[in-house]
């Protein structure tokens, strides 16, 4: 035993060790395929190391010849695996250069195994020499006639050198300078050393053992450095991840957010404690998709399922609000959001998301809606108050007619003989007027009722006609001409009769007020409905008043904005609330000639579009 028989096995052991480590990492993470390639080169090096040691201790030229042949294959595997490693690890390099190195090398190695089965290195090995070295160690070197074909593996190695330098430069240009310098540099060094050293040996200039494996130590060092850098980076990442997880926990807790993810392939659910408590699950309960769905309120389940499946299909975010019935009896409103993750084949594999308790918002939203409903009702009642005297007129007409008809009937009965023929039409008229009075009362009652918005298909002409009826008397008393125009071919609109009446009434009464405030102008109001295709019907109320100051156009729909001495400033703001709740828009503009025009749109009812 001497230092040679100790050193070479140690090199081999080092190669094996790092090779095994890299193999383990490479197998664990498919993304680290480069490490697998590197481990191949390390194992090949360990083999070459053994061959080198065997050559040093060979007893005959034939033995050396056989060992050299296997050594050529080992080095070939090293060259090929290193080329592939650089190619994958750097994700750069010239493809043809990459193929050229191993290709040329392989072309040379073929001669090792072709008849006449001469050695690629020596045409003939003439003898073995024993060289004594320090420490009492000795090794053998071959002497013989070099094979001219041996130039092929050298060219292959040179090509590898060119490829590595080129790939490293490319990588360095992309910014990964450290990796290019350390890994590229070490591989280049190994190639250079291997070429130079074996050339010197094989030309007989120096008499030394082969050092392919020994010089590979540089690459081992470089890769160990890479590995430790990666490990410490991973440790840092781990710490940062922990930190960011803590931050996310804190943010989630502060915002009341529960986080969850659903593995779509294994049907496993991960959920934070907050998620579990929001959905009414125990801390340790194991969850899956079906159990999550089971937490959703029965009435919302279909909607949630549809949203979930839609999200899986079209890749949009899953975004749904639903109720959860907690076993204690409490019902919670939950907002659930989620995002789908897909594999490379675009198949959904995971959904990650959050849940949030929105019961409080829902409650205040309901309160707000109720308040708005009350306000709208109050304003409607107050508007009806404004119209009261005019509406009394509307009622007095049929009532007066009934009275006169009844009195006429009495007189006809007093005639001698009683004029019975006159009675039949009188009774029919009384009945008709009674119906008329009933209709007026019914309409008023409908307007005064407190109710939520319940949209259904309505004929625009009916809406405008009823407004004409309600305001006719008032318009006559104020000497305003009211023109109603709803062209034919108007589709029905989706809306709530009472609330839309309120909006129209508000606009028409405002228009009359505007006309009263500008005595010089003509006294006209036009209410027109227009449909120009598409999904909306537009209704416009134009007056011949003084118009609106341009700087006020933007704010007249704000609550409590008013230009009237006794106005509350809620009419238009309620109108806007109502129209927007219908999915329409409302706005005002000054007309070209005089006065202002208020316009609003309503969604056309879909059924009637086709007819």
């Amino acid at each position: 035993m001497n230092w040679i028989t100790i050193a070479w096995p140690m090199v081999a052991a080092a190669c094996l060790t790092l090779g095994l480590i890299e193999l383990r990492i490479g197998l664990a993470r498919p993304a680290d395929a480069a490490r697998l390639l590197f481990s191949v080169s390390a194992f090949a090096t360990a083999t070459v190391c053994g061959i080198e040691l065997a050559i040093m201790q060979a007893d005959s030229p034939d033995q050396v010849k056989a060992l050299l042949r296997w050594g050529d294959i080992g080095v070939g595997v090293m060259i090929a695996s290193l080329t592939a490693f650089i190619w994958v690890y750097f994700r750069s390099g010239n493809k043809w250069l990459a193929l050229a190195g191993p290709g040329l090398y392989a072309a040379g190695v073929i001669f090792d195994f072709l008849p006449p089965r001469r050695s690629l290195t020596y045409l003939q090995i003439t003898g073995l020499r024993t060289v004594e070295t320090f420490g009492g160690a000795s090794y053998r070197v071959a002497e013989g006639v070099p094979n001219p074909l041996n130039v092929l593996p050298y060219l292959g190695a040179l090509m590898l050198l060119v490829f590595v330098v080129d790939a490293s430069l490319r990588l360095a240009r992309r910014g990964a300078r450290r990796r290019a310098l350390v890994v590229g540099g070490s591989v280049a060094f190994w190639v250079l050393a291997a070429i130079a050293h074996s050339a010197l040996i094989e030309s007989g200039i120096v008499q030394m053992p082969y050092l392919f494996s020994v010089s590979y130590l540089v690459i081992l060092l470089a890769m160990t450095y890479e590995l430790t850098t990666d490990v410490s980076a991973a440790a840092r990442l781990g710490r940062e991840l922990q930190e960011s997880e803590r931050r996310m926990d804190l943010a989630g807790a502060a915002a009341g957010l529960g986080m969850w993810s659903l593995d779509l392939t294994s049907d496993e659910v991960w959920a934070t404690a907050k998620t579990r408590s929001l959905l009414g699950f125990a801390e340790t309960e194991s969850l899956n998709q079906a159990r999550l769905m089971g937490a959703v309120h029965l009435e919302d389940r279909d909607a949630v399922r549809v949203a979930f499946e839609t999200s899986l299909r079209n890749g949009r975010d899953f975004d749904v609000e639903h109720r959860v019935q907690i076993p204690g009896g409490e019902t919670r409103w939950i907002a659930a959001r989620g995002r789908v993750e897909r594999d490379s084949g675009r198949r959904p594999i995971l959904m990650r998301g959050v849940v949030l308790d929105i019961s409080a918002q829902r409650r205040s939203q309901l309160d707000l809606q109720q308040l708005q409903g009350q306000l709208a009702h109050t304003s409607r009642v107050s508007m009806m108050g404004q119209l009261a005297s005019a509406l009394a007129h509307e009622l007095n007409q049929p009532l007066g007619a009934i009275l006169r008809n009844a009195e006429a009937a009495e007189l006809f009965l007093q005639h001698d003989p009683p004029d019975l023929d006159e009675l039949r039409p009188i009774l029919a008229d009384i009945r008709a007027d009674d119906q008329r009075a009933r209709d007026v009362i019914e309409r008023l009652r409908a307007l005064l009722k407190r109710r939520s918005i319940e949209p259904r298909a309505l004929a625009v002409a009916d809406l405008l006609g009823n407004i004409a009826m309600l305001t006719r008397a008032d318009a006559a008393a104020r000497r305003v001409t009211l023109e109603i125009e709803s062209g034919s071919g108007l589709p029905q609109v989706m809306g709530d009769w009472v609330h839309l009446q309120q909006v129209l009434l508000n606009l028409v009464l405002n228009a009359m007020d505007a006309i009263d405030e500008s005595p010089g102008n003509s006294r006209q109001i036009a209410v027109r409905a227009r449909y120009s295709g598409g999904r909306e019907v537009e209704v416009a109320v134009s007056d011949s008043g003084h118009g609106i100051l341009p700087e006020k156009l933007g704010i007249i729909f704000e609550p409590f904005f008013t230009t009237k001495e006794n106005g509350m400033g809620i009419g238009l703001s309620i109108s806007r609330t109502i129209i927007e709740a219908h999915g329409g828009r409302i706005w005002a503009e000054n007309s070209h000639s005089e006065g202002a025009t208020f316009r609003f749109t309503l969604p056309a009812a879909v059924e009637s579009l086709s007819s």
Binding site: N396, E407, L411, D433, R479
Partner: protein, 218 residues
């Protein structure tokens, strides 16, 4: 006095009410004509005796507008307003412009019919008065200019002697003129003559001046 029957004209924009009122008045024995707007009523030109029953609130020309338009016409019929709701201001204005009556639409039949009756009476009286005055003016128109001068002095209560000296004629001449006047105007006393001169509105246009510009001294 005109021979034709009085007609009650009704103006209301509400066809049902119009029909009911016209039916009632017809049942009560009146001849009735209906109009659905003030403009339609003003467009007809016949001068039949009668009265007008009009709605106060109508689109276009309102009841008050109609009354104002009629005020230009000395032969306009009396107006009764019917209204669903009456406010004081409108009532006052209507009455001041000479409305015969102002009733709510649900006023009892008796009151309505009484109002119509009153209006027709007033129309008949006004028409009779117009006829009488016309006839009276015809009588005065028959006087010669000299007789009108004498008449002017007579109604001022002057004695024949004063008139004679004032006009520069003999007393006998004055007596002859006075006889011609009483014959033509068909009166028996100076008092009656004075009343008729007032009724006919004679000498009112340019108050008490004599032709020639002399101030009358009483």
């Amino acid at each position: 006095m005109s021979q034709s029957l009085p007609v009650v004209s009704i103006v209301d924009d509400d066809p049902s009410f119009l029909k009911a009122v016209s039916r009632l008045l017809h049942a009560a024995g009146y001849a009735v004509r209906t109009f659905s707007s003030a403009g339609e009523f003003l467009a007809q030109t016949t001068d039949t005796p009668g009265c007008l029953v009009a709605d106060l609130h109508m689109p276009g020309l309102s009841g008050l507008d109609l009354q104002t338009a009629l005020a230009q016409d000395p032969q306009a019929p009396p107006v009764i307003f019917l209204t669903g709701q009456g406010d004081i201001a409108t009532t006052v204005r209507a009455m001041r412009q000479g409305a015969e009556d102002f009733l709510t639409k649900d006023a009892p039949k008796a009151i309505l019919l009484k109002a119509v009756e009153r209006a027709l009476d007033r129309d008949a009286r006004q028409r009779a008065e117009r006829v009488r005055l016309q006839e009276l003016r015809g009588r005065f128109d028959a006087l010669t200019p000299r007789e009108r001068e004498v008449l002017q002095h007579v109604v001022l209560g002057r004695l024949n002697k004063q008139i004679a000296s004032n006009l520069g004629v003999s007393e006998r001449m004055v007596k002859l003129h006075r006889t011609a006047i009483t014959t033509k105007v068909q009166v028996r006393s100076v008092a009656e003559l004075t009343r008729l001169v007032q009724d006919a509105g004679l000498f009112e246009e340019n108050t008490p001046t004599f032709p020639g510009g002399f101030q009358v001294r009483r």
